[in-house]
């Protein structure tokens, strides 16, 4: 975008500044709109699977429900418990929300259409998502209340556990792609399956990685069946118990933005991101960002499908799945993938 602004007679620095700001707005504003609509979709899918109607009153088909909810919480009073640690209590939702937005900086929407095309893109995502636990832990501690604190402890243990196996899964993808750059990873998937199908998922060694990544991303975003941080039968509302109005809404938005990010990561790492599913010229007439959106939407449907159908895990089962199943499996696959690549791709180097 920088050359466009330079053509308008700006110096390089000003053009860089203006185009970065414009890029941030171009990502953040549609993302907020997408979060509002995706909450509606989540509720509709959930309702349909429970044979209910779901939101259908505000606007045509209830499409404006999320905006009505947003307006409602915006007009409410922010209640800070008297025993709470005020500063941290108010900062925690801001941290969650900001980090949820910050991770989108490296997501490519089309060839070259990315805000920060850095060569450690995937590590940046990992770094930001490992920070995500602070919002939850801070809110749980600052609330100075029993259930939020339990929830914060659970969240910290859960997110760290699953980050370890996610790290190993990402290493498999990075080994195959040969780069940490997000656009590079997508380009590496072009014609990956028999030269016609785009995506790492059509690869016998990486398909199990995708299954594990999908399950880990459910756990990482604390979605059902791993939503033990907000298990209402035991912890009231988890770390959000003491929150109200906009500070609650920030948690809500941040959480769904994180879910969308995980859907986008599934699409980018294993399903070819903005590439069309098949390597066939007419499919390229549809712009890349539409393909990415379709894939994100597909994965979000899977997320809400799981939420509507799978019962909640017990906490010890969750820990067992993370440490005793996913961690050894992903380690084995790191060895398998690197061994295979050594055999076929880098063999002549030794």
């Amino acid at each position: 975008m920088i050359p466009v602004f330079e053509d308008w007679g700006m110096s390089y620095e000003t053009a860089w500044f203006v185009s970065t700001i414009a890029g941030i707005l171009l990502i953040a504003l549609p993302l907020m709109l997408a979060v509002a609509m995706i909450i509606y979709v989540d509720r509709k899918v959930w309702a349909a699977m429970a044979l209910r109607r779901g939101p259908n009153v505000v606007g045509p088909f209830g499409l404006l429900q999320s905006f009505a909810d947003g307006l409602k919480v915006f007009l409410q009073e922010t209640i800070v418990p008297s025993a709470a640690n005020k500063g941290l209590f108010l900062i925690a939702p801001i941290v969650t929300f900001t980090l949820a937005l910050a991770a989108w900086a490296v997501i490519p929407f089309n060839s070259g259409a990315v805000l920060a095309d850095i060569n450690v893109g995937l590590l940046y995502i990992l770094a930001i998502s490992s920070l995500g636990v602070y919002g939850v832990v801070m809110s749980g501690w600052a609330s100075n209340s029993k259930y939020p604190f339990f929830s914060a402890m659970r969240a910290a243990a859960q997110m760290i556990s699953y980050e370890v196996s996610i790290g190993f899964i990402l290493i498999c993808v990075v080994l195959w792609a040969g780069t940490f750059n997000m656009n590079g990873i997508i380009e590496a998937q072009r014609g990956h399956g028999l030269g016609i199908v785009n995506g790492f998922v059509f690869n016998l060694l990486l398909f199990p990685m995708w299954v594990m990544f999908l399950i880990s991303s459910l756990a990482e975003t604390a979605r059902a069946p791993f939503d033990l941080t907000e298990a209402e039968s035991e912890l009231v509302a988890g770390y959000q118990t003491e929150y109200s109005s906009m500070s609650f809404a920030l948690f809500w938005l941040g959480e769904y933005a994180n879910v969308l990010l995980m859907c986008a990561l599934n699409a980018i790492l294993f399903f070819g991101g903005w590439l069309p599913p098949l390597e066939w010229a007419p499919l390229y007439w549809i712009p890349g960002w539409l393909w990415l959106f379709a894939k994100i939407f597909f994965f979000f449907f899977i997320f809400s499908w799981v939420k509507a159908t799978v019962p909640r895990f017990r906490y010890d089962q969750l820990m067992r799945l993370g440490w005793k199943v996913f961690l050894p499996l992903s380690l084995v696959f790191v060895v398998l993938v690197s061994g295979w690549l050594m055999f076929t791709r880098y063999g002549e180097a030794i």
Binding site: E13, L88, I118, N119, A127, Y134, A156, E163
Partner: protein
């Protein structure tokens, strides 16, 4: 211009948050300020072009180590009066450690200035391979030139980890409830439940 500005911003924030870390009265606040310091340190790394180290700093220190630290500190039952008393008692020791660190810093910078130790050989084969990303440079160094040092560091860490697990896991296995996951999964509803239609007032035999 913008680089100098960013440098002074990050450096100032590192020092300021480091100072607040030791001045804050609440230990949880201290840990959180320490995290801010780490984060700004990562910003400085990005500025010098070591983006891989910066990301590792955030992932390892902020994302894992500091979370566990915070975890422990939050669980503490803090008595501020006792903490204050301990501060006076440990103050000379703290000053001594600070002096040692300062001396090491001065010595290190002095030695670097004097050029006594040549880090990397004159031929330049330990220097970064210019023109490639620093992930590739670090990988080439760690898995090429320094392979055995790297592997032995890994083995030491593995032994330390196993040692810690063994030390904390000494209790008898029989005393703890052991779960057989395979048996739990193999259980069918027919083994655990019965479906009967008892007469009214008769009850059922369990």
């Amino acid at each position: 211009m913008i680089q100098a500005f960013a440098f002074y911003l990050f450096a100032g924030l590192v020092i300021a948050s480091g100072a607040v870390t030791i001045l804050a009265r609440n230990p949880v606040h201290s840990v959180l300020w320490l995290i801010v310091a780490f984060f700004n340190g990562a910003g400085l790394m990005v500025l010098v072009g070591a983006e891989f180290i910066a990301m590792l700093l955030v992932i390892v220190y902020v994302g894992a180590v500091a979370v566990l630290f915070l975890f422990v500190v939050m669980m503490l039952d803090i008595d501020f009066a006792e903490l204050r008393a301990g501060f006076i008692k440990n103050f000379p020791l703290g000053i001594a450690i600070a002096l040692v660190l300062l001396a090491e810093l001065v010595l290190g910078v002095g030695a670097w200035r004097a050029g006594a130790i040549a880090l990397g050989t004159p031929a330049g084969d330990a220097a970064p391979l210019l023109g490639e990303s620093n992930i590739e440079n670090i990988g080439a160094l760690l898995y090429g030139r320094y392979l055995f040092l790297f592997e032995s560091a890994g083995i030491i860490l593995l032994v330390a980890m196993i040692g810690a697990i063994v030390l904390t896991h000494r209790g008898s296995r029989a005393a703890r409830g052991q779960q057989d996951i395979a048996r739990q999964n193999a259980r069918k509803p027919s083994e655990a439940t019965i479906n009967t239609r008892p007469e009214v007032g008769q009850g059922i035999q369990l």
